[in-house]
């Protein structure tokens, strides 16, 4: 049994936990924003108005085909020059992660909406609901329930991908692990094992939530 006191001590663990805090904050904000944006993009892509449909489709198709690392770097280094507003790394990280994940969620949500039985929508229409009510009371609830596993799996990917924000200087969990492991006693394996366990616990928690949601709906 190797001596691990250099890793399991308060300052080091605190340093790592703050990293976990960044990771969770980036993920939580990006999950919320990307879900709202993804919903709008999905509806936009399904819109019968070309002025809404084409921009939504273009956004989804372009963003989906770019590497996230490129989007993160561009958001931090390039976007401020275009919009003329300097962005903090954390802000840029949230924007990039949200914008990227929204495009992927949009496609998941869209296919969920398309999978809803036409007859159910007609039943709701025949009862005199408005189009917005049909969407909010019937189509979306059914689509989202059906898509919960795929959506949660996208959120798990997002949580792991927060580690890519290290390139714009955010000291999230993985980046802090690299910092610890590059200091004496230079032992990367215990550090990365610990970090892996932390990611696993958080993401496994998310899967459990997802399973709970599914069972409640079954």
């Amino acid at each position: 049994m190797p001596e691990l006191g250099w890793l399991f001590n308060v300052p080091v663990l605190r340093f790592l936990l703050i990293g976990l805090g960044y990771t969770l904050a980036l993920a939580a904000l990006s999950i919320t924003i990307s879900f709202a944006l993804g919903m709008l993009l999905a509806l936009g892509r399904l819109s019968r108005f070309p002025l809404i449909r084409y921009p939504a489709t273009l956004y989804i198709e372009i963003i989906r085909s770019l590497p996230l690392l490129l989007i993160i770097a561009f958001t931090f280094f390039g976007l401020p020059q275009i919009i003329g507003v300097q962005l903090e790394p954390f802000q840029a990280g949230v924007i990039a992660l949200s914008g990227f994940t929204a495009a992927l969620l949009a496609e998941i949500i869209r296919s969920g909406i398309l999978s809803v039985n036409r007859g159910l929508i007609e039943a709701a229409q025949s009862q005199g609901f408005t189009g917005v009510q049909v969407l909010g009371l019937v189509t979306l609830p059914i689509a989202l329930r059906r898509m919960t596993p795929a959506i949660v799996s996208q959120f798990i990917t997002l949580l792991k991908d927060t580690s890519l924000t290290a390139i714009i200087g955010i000291l999230e969990l993985t980046r802090r692990g690299r910092i610890i492991s590059s200091q004496p006693p230079f032992e990367p394996i215990p550090v990365f094992a610990l970090i892996a366990v932390i990611y696993f616990l958080v993401n496994y928690g998310l899967s459990l939530v997802s399973r709970g949601l599914e069972e409640r709906q079954a």
Partner: protein
């Protein structure tokens, strides 16, 4: 005045001419059964009444409102026209109670307590008073279809449309649904029923309409169809289903 009126209606699905010069007048309180071979346009006909399908030519007038006119607020028409589908189409994520009260509460702005009280009465009426907390997936087909009828009735419609309401049911459940429909037929509500249940037609229909290839071929009383159908196509069709 007729409560449903088709005047010179034509409808196409792309090039497919599915309703041809349909003229039809249904009186308030009438029970009309629509029969005809598969693909003859029966579903399309009744779906034009609440504009689930639009017509390209002619007029569809429902309780004085021109359904074919895009300026007509179709939601007002739909509140007066209940529809029961072959596949039930209950909202699977809502309980029986919610299925029935959703439209009265959201569309008619009825207070929840009142909507639920009415829902209980309706469930008693269709013979499943105890199932209000079940989800549709937990019910048999016959029970689901009776909930669907209660859901349609919850809006107090003047007209009920049925599109083959028993065709997806196991034989032992057909009767329980037909019994509910027969009860309704005696309440004075206008009913248009696409079905091949000729026993139902014989007992409660005022008129039977036979359609083929998008046309109304023959109209008459149930007795007329049982005893002396005139058209060869009608005879051929009846010989297959009776």
């Amino acid at each position: 005045m007729a409560i449903i009126e088709f005047v010179g209606v034509n409808k196409w699905f792309d090039k497919l001419h599915v309703l041809r010069d349909v003229d039809l007048s249904i009186e308030r309180g009438e029970v009309v059964v629509v029969i005809g071979p598969s693909g003859s346009g029966k579903s399309t006909l009744i779906r034009c009444v609440n504009r689930l399908e639009t017509v390209q030519d002619g007029q569809v007038i429902v309780d004085g409102q021109h359904v074919e006119d895009p300026r007509t607020d179709i939601r007002r028409v739909r509140q007066e026209v209940g529809m029961v589908f072959q596949q039930f189409n209950l909202y699977p994520h809502k309980t029986v109670m919610q299925n029935i009260t959703m439209a009265p509460i959201r569309v008619k702005k009825m207070p929840r307590a009142e909507a639920e009280k009415r829902a209980h009465e309706l469930l008693e009426r269709v013979g499943i008073g105890e199932k209000h907390d079940a989800y549709p997936g937990q019910l048999s087909g016959g029970q689901q279809q009776r909930v669907a009828i209660a859901r349609a009735l919850a809006m107090s419609p003047k007209i009920l449309l049925f599109d083959e309401p028993t065709s997806a049911l196991d034989p032992e459940m057909i009767k329980e649904v037909l019994d509910v429909m027969k009860d309704l037929a005696h309440t004075g509500i206008t009913m248009v029923v696409v079905t091949h249940e000729m026993g139902f037609a014989r007992e409660v229909a005022n008129r039977v309409i036979f359609m083929d290839a998008g046309r109304i071929i023959e109209v008459g009383s149930p007795e007329h169809f049982f005893q002396a159908p005139e058209q060869d196509r009608t005879k051929l069709f009846l010989s297959k289903i009776l």
